[in-house]
């Protein structure tokens, strides 16, 4: 399974966490489409805590974290 964590406004209608079968998808971009999230709404995409791009592969056991534009100081 792949664990997907949603943050800030991306939680609306999706909750905080979801799981998805790793055999159903191969990239982070496919995962975004599965949850109906336009790529441009994702400002920070982490795979296992490291910045990644939609074309990057995901595999069983990965944790994917999705953030809209957030920041501060």
């Amino acid at each position: 399974m792949i664990e997907v964590r949603f943050f800030a406004t991306l939680r609306q209608g999706r909750g905080k966490v979801a799981e998805i079968d790793a055999e159903e998808i191969s990239t982070a971009g496919e995962l975004l489409r599965r949850f109906d999230i336009p790529a441009e709404e994702v400002s920070i995409l982490l795979i296992n805590g490291f910045h990644s791009k939609p074309e990057d592969p995901v595999k069983d056991g990965d944790v994917v974290s999705l953030f809209p534009p957030v920041g501060g100081g």
Partner: protein, 605 residues
């Protein structure tokens, strides 16, 4: 010709009661802009670097920038510039609210306060008039209550800056508060006010806007352009308004850079409990904005039966994971106490975290804790010890209120103090984010995140996404960020505008307001000049090359958990590159560098 300055500085000698109006030197203003830059230049020239920070010889400069009070976006900043009693070096604490704009509307670019009052006093400013009034009845009054009392006396249209009980007691972690929940937070500026027996400064102004802009039409155009860029930018246009800076809790934890239990760990599994998302869900009433700010990053929250200013990212982290805590109500309460007592909401919780590590290791004994043991995760401990540090009575409270360096040295474990230049490090682990470590190590005010916010490129992807784990080109990036930040601070503009704006936009604003003709490159050189004169202030104050450092834990103890497990800071590799980029040798500018920057007054010093 108008130039966005009122060309007037008020000098108040509290020892003699003498109040003078001095002209602003426009040549100097052009070289240092205002705010942070001009304030440091004034103190450098007046020889403040070598004085005892809590003696009558120290001076407090309350200073605006040329943009302060203008119609430009997020232009309400003022700064308290002085020699810090915490670090022994330059302090420039920056705050928003409306106080700075009101000071400018009253017709003052800056106030210089010197000496020490014979009895507790406060300043009352109404346009041209400055009076020294008796403050004896306000001693011990908490900050918010004092704001109310002074407004009752002088009218609701005034703005109040004050120190709480912590500043009165010369607590080294005390700050200057204004407009109830805004703070010039760091480096112990409240203690300097306390040492001068100055409890508050009340400002009332007849003007409602600046009437000294050089080119009104050009500024209107520049404002329009900048506002559009900021509104179109997803972060300054919507993101910060929605969740505030608190939105960072989950981001920084997500990459494994959220220091936990005094930096023994860097990932907190329960961080969502004190995140911006949870704060918004449970307590947020509405976003709060400073003067003329479209961003509105502030949090107005419901706390029990009160509506108060809520915590920023920094105290959420510092009272949260850094103290092993995830009780959001308790963090709100401790943060509220910081505002009421006038305490640095970074330095205080970080020192509590250091005390908790001393307690964990048996150095601080339970019998020293007066019934509130310093146990990780104790809500009672973060609340009660904050209160005690705000009005310290017991030996341990007195020691803790002087910051983590003095505390940890007293217990024989200086390595537990997570600080640089005696100031506690903010909320980003420099083992997991390499570039921010350069900024922590070299910021002239001691450890700070807002002197060159490398989190923007290394984590948030602004203006480009850098790899946080490598050191490539980080030295050059850090220098550029530091120089641009010095410009923004000196203009009186909020640093958060830089999530959307760059040097060309700042040049357009400044040129229109002041009548200068800076290119973006020239403006960055002004920022470099400011950063260098701060460094020369520190050199005169006794700074040594080894003060540009990071705690041993960040260099030698790899991150113990989470996504960044195994990483350490590579500061020793980056620092020589940084010095080379700056034209510095052994942490200080060469005479050649000083000459190049037009700092002839510092050559040979």
């Amino acid at each position: 010709m108008s130039n966005a300055y009122y060309e007037k500085i008020g000098r108040i000698n509290l020892s003699t009661g003498e109040i003078k109006t001095e002209p602003l030197d426009l040549e100097i203003a052009k070289k240092f802009i205002g705010g942070r830059g001009l304030g440091t230049k004034i103190l450098y020239d007046e020889g403040v670097a070598t004085v005892d920070p809590l003696s009558p010889d120290n001076k407090l400069v309350y200073i605006t920038g040329p943009m302060t009070g203008s119609n430009s976006p997020s232009s309400g900043r003022y700064m308290v510039v002085t020699k810090s009693p915490l670090t022994g070096m330059i302090a420039c604490a920056n705050s928003g609210g409306i106080w700075g704009a009101k000071l400018k509307f009253a017709g003052w670019d800056a106030l210089i306060v010197e000496g020490v009052a014979p009895e507790w006093c406060y300043l009352y400013i109404e346009d041209d008039k400055i009076e020294i009034l008796d403050a004896s009845e306000y001693l011990g009054v908490l900050s918010e209550e004092l704001d109310d009392k002074l407004k009752e006396k002088h009218g609701a249209d005034c703005s109040v800056l004050n120190i709480g009980p912590a500043g009165e007691k010369q607590v080294l972690l005390s700050c200057v508060m204004n407009d109830k929940d805004r703070a010039a937070g760091r480096s112990g500026t409240g203690a300097v006010m306390g040492s001068k027996k100055l409890k508050a400064i009340v400002v009332k102004a007849s003007r409602k806007q600046l009437d000294v802009i050089a080119d009104v039409d050009a500024l209107k155009e520049a404002n329009k352009n900048c506002l559009k860029i900021m509104t179109d930018n997803p972060l300054t246009g919507a993101g910060l308004r929605a969740l505030g800076t608190a939105s960072l809790v989950n981001v920084i934890n997500g990459i494994g850079a959220l220091p936990t239990k005094n930096w023994q760990e860097s990932y907190c599994p329960t961080a969502d409990k004190f995140s911006g998302e949870t704060l918004a869900e449970k307590y947020l009433v509405k976003p709060g904005a400073c003067f003329h700010c479209p961003i509105a990053c502030g949090r107005i929250i419901k706390h029990d039966d009160k509506i108060v200013g809520g915590p920023e990212y920094e105290p959420l982290w510092a009272y949260g994971s850094d103290c092993g805590n995830d009780d959001l109500w308790a963090i709100d309460e401790a943060n509220r106490l910081c505002n009421e007592y006038g305490l640095d909401a970074i330095g205080v919780p970080c020192t509590i975290a250091a005390a908790m590590e001393l307690y964990q290791n048996g150095c601080i004994k339970e019998e020293e804790c007066d019934g509130v043991p310093l146990e990780w995760g104790s809500s009672k401990a973060i609340i009660e010890w904050t209160r005690r540090m705000g009005d310290p009575q017991s030996p341990l409270a007195k020691l803790m209120s002087s910051g983590s360096v003095r505390l940890c040295e007293a217990y024989g474990h200086p390595e537990f103090s997570m600080s640089v230049k005696k100031q506690e490090i903010p909320a980003y682990d420099a083992r997991a984010i390499q570039g921010i470590g350069i900024n922590y190590a070299t910021a002239n005010c001691g450890a700070a995140h807002v002197r060159g916010y490398m989190i923007a490129p290394e984590v948030l992807g602004i203006p480009a996404q850098l790899d946080r784990t490598v050191i490539d080109e980080k030295a050059g990036w850090a220098k550029t960020f530091q120089d641009l930040t010095a410009v923004i601070d000196s203009m009186g503009t909020c640093l958060f505008t830089s999530f959307a704006l760059g040097a060309p936009e700042y040049a357009s604003l400044l040129n229109a307001a002041t009548g200068t003709n800076y290119t973006p490159e020239e403006l960055l050189e002004v920022g470099e000049r400011i950063f260098n004169i701060e460094r020369m202030f520190n050199k005169a104050a006794g700074m040594k090359p080894e003060d540009d450092r990071l705690p041993k834990r960040l260099l030698q103890e790899p991150v113990s958990n989470g996504p960044s497990k195994g990483m350490v800071s590579k500061l020793p590799e980056m620092l020589p590159q940084y010095y080379e980029a700056r034209g510095w040798v052994n942490a200080f500018p060469t005479d050649e560098t000083l000459k190049k920057l037009g700092l002839d007054e510092c050559v040979g010093k």
